[in-house]
């Protein structure tokens, strides 16, 4: 990938497009503020981001910021689950015996052909309430010591809402794992056949071939795709608001139901998601550039 930055001068079509955009945005703003007679009130929102707490003598996060933190935790955990699942199923899709290949194929096809919201409901109401109940997680969570309660709160969420949170990360993880599987499969399959044959004839075992020859090359190629999928997870995590997991979208909707400040809250939510995913893409972009510089082939 060569990097040639050319900045062409603005031409008339560009100017016309620019003018059109300005007029369009102006029109939307005008409609919202005058025609709708919507009473904007950003002052109310501030205290839901950060508010001064007299008891603690400092600023504490409001429910929107807490929601954002929950979204981050949710995305990290489901990202980990998705990557692990994607790796396992991706590898078994290429190397597995007949049975493993079929299992992995069914997993990918099932998940990819169901709308995520349907998957979330099915998993939450039918599966997690039964399966997670066997493990007695609720009971375990209700008699935690204060210290471990704090740890659970920091890593996941309030212990009382743990089962819902757990089924949310499992649901998202399994859902996104199907896409990850395809990424891993593509990565592994993209490694040239000759590499296999060469390593095989050099007497590498199956595991050694994977460990030293194939995976290092495959991973390098699919890293950008994995990163992109993780950004997708952040966006898809909004879906679990339907099962009342207290992440950003859910908190925002609860707040709208309390305050009726629909537009302000949606806009803040949008800005928060954008900030989060844009920051991630920015760093991934940097990572890619670095890999390009180091001369890794992609």
């Amino acid at each position: 990938m060569s990097k040639t930055k050319t900045r062409a001068g603005l031409k008339y079509p560009d100017l016309a497009l620019f003018a059109f955009l300005v007029i369009f945005i102006g029109f939307v703003v005008y409609r919202v503020s005058y025609s709708l007679e919507y009473r904007w009130d950003w002052g109310v929102i501030r205290q839901y981001l950060f508010r001064f707490d007299a008891d603690k003598g400092g600023y504490v996060p409001g429910i929107l910021v807490k929601g954002l933190a929950a979204t981050v935790r949710l995305s990290i955990w489901s990202g980990i689950i998705a990557t692990v699942l994607g790796f396992l199923f991706g590898v078994s899709r290429v190397y597995g015996n007949f049975f493993l290949k079929k299992i992995s194929y069914i997993y990918v096809q099932t998940v990819r052909n169901i709308p995520s919201i349907v998957f979330v409901f099915i998993f939450y109401f039918f599966f997690s309430s039964q399966v997670l109940a066997w493990f007695g997680i609720d009971e375990a969570m209700s008699d935690l010591s204060p210290v471990s309660e704090e740890i659970v709160q920091m890593l996941f969420c309030k212990p009382s809402l743990f089962t819902a949170f757990l089924s949310a990360i499992l649901t998202l993880g399994i859902y996104e794992g199907a896409y990850m599987t395809e990424i891993f499969r593509a990565g592994i399959e993209s490694v040239d056949r000759g590499q296999w044959e060469a390593s095989d004839s050099l007497g590498f075992s199956m595991f050694q071939q994977m460990r030293y020859i194939i995976l290092p090359q495959a991973l390098r190629r699919i890293l950008p795709a994995i990163a992109g999928q993780i950004i997708s997870i952040i966006k898809d995590s909004a879906i679990v608001s339907v099962i009342s997991v207290q992440e950003l979208t859910f908190q925002g909707m609860e707040l709208m139901a309390s305050t009726y400040r629909t537009f302000e809250v949606w806009i803040i939510i949008m800005v928060m998601y954008f900030g989060l995913t844009y920051t991630c893409s920015f760093f991934i972009g940097k990572l890619n550039e670095r890999m390009d510089r180091k001369g890794y082939q992609r």
Partner: protein, 267 residues
């Protein structure tokens, strides 16, 4: 391909087989006392339950649930849940009880058990001055060109369908969206439990008005429990009787529904 399809089918049937009856281990009241925690399912409805500035929950239902937990000698934990999914969430054991202003209806009784009413609520209606001016009685709204916005899965939605069969009903996930639709002029009226319509007509007094002075239905509100739990229902009924005669329910009702002293806690 065929084999794969069959395998997929098998996988699904396994999934559904694993979903037998929810774990029903004795009366809810006993297990709550054993655990020391009452898990309450609720949803945001102003002023039944809502977030205050500090992010904690306040409202009529919150007061009732806290009082109930106090009298049972247990802690209370609120599980905010989307209204449209609140009954399945109760049935699958996400919490022990719904204390969320749930109207007692025949339809709901098929799925859950209700206690005696601990409150009565009624539907009222708020309309847009610009696109539906001068409407004064219920029949005025029962016309084809009228669009009524309501919250999905509430008794307001049922009332709207029953009283205004000719009108078009638009369903939303919560009242704030329904009210926004009304303010935007894409609906002519919103039906909701009193006193929400009154509060909205006061707040937007230049855009909205109250066509009817009073509520047009009266419905009992009860706690909802999983089916077949007679003992817990009995205990709760007794508790409700005590709270009616002790004046607790009336005083809380007055505070949340007849005054707006609490408004400063929200904005």
């Amino acid at each position: 391909m065929k084999k794969t399809g069959i395998l997929a089918l098998l996988f699904f049937s396994l999934l559904f087989l694993s979903c037998g009856k929810g774990s029903s281990t004795g009366p809810m009241i006993d297990s709550v006392k054993k655990k020391g925690v009452l898990r309450v399912g609720m949803s945001t409805f102003v002023p039944w339950a809502m977030n205050d500035k500090k992010g904690s929950l306040i409202g009529f239902e919150i007061d009732v649930a806290k009082e109930l937990a106090k009298d049972l000698g247990v802690k209370v934990e609120f599980i905010p849940t989307k209204w449209s999914g609140i009954i399945p969430a109760l049935l699958t054991g996400k919490f022990d009880i719904i204390i969320g202003g749930m109207g007692i209806t025949e339809e709901r009784k098929k799925k859950v058990d209700f206690t005696k009413p601990y409150e009565y609520s009624g539907m009222s209606i708020v309309a847009n001055m610009k696109n539906a001016p001068g409407l004064r009685n219920l029949e005025d709204f029962n016309r084809q060109e009228i669009i009524i916005a309501v919250r999905l899965g509430t008794t307001a939605a049922e009332a709207a369908k029953k009283y205004f069969p000719k009108a078009r009903i638009k369903l939303f996930d919560d009242e704030s969206q329904a009210v926004q639709e009304l303010l935007n002029g894409r609906a002519h009226a919103v039906v909701a439990s009193a006193p929400l319509p009154e509060f909205q007509s006061l707040k937007y007094s230049k855009k909205l008005y109250l066509p009817l002075k009073d509520t047009f239905t009266r419905e009992p509100i009860g706690f909802a429990l999983r089916k077949g739990d007679g003992k817990s229902v009995e205990v709760l009924n007794k508790w409700i009787d005590e709270k009616w005669s002790g004046g607790f329910l009336d005083s809380r009702k007055n505070y949340w529904f007849r005054t707006r002293k609490w408004a400063g806690q929200i904005e």
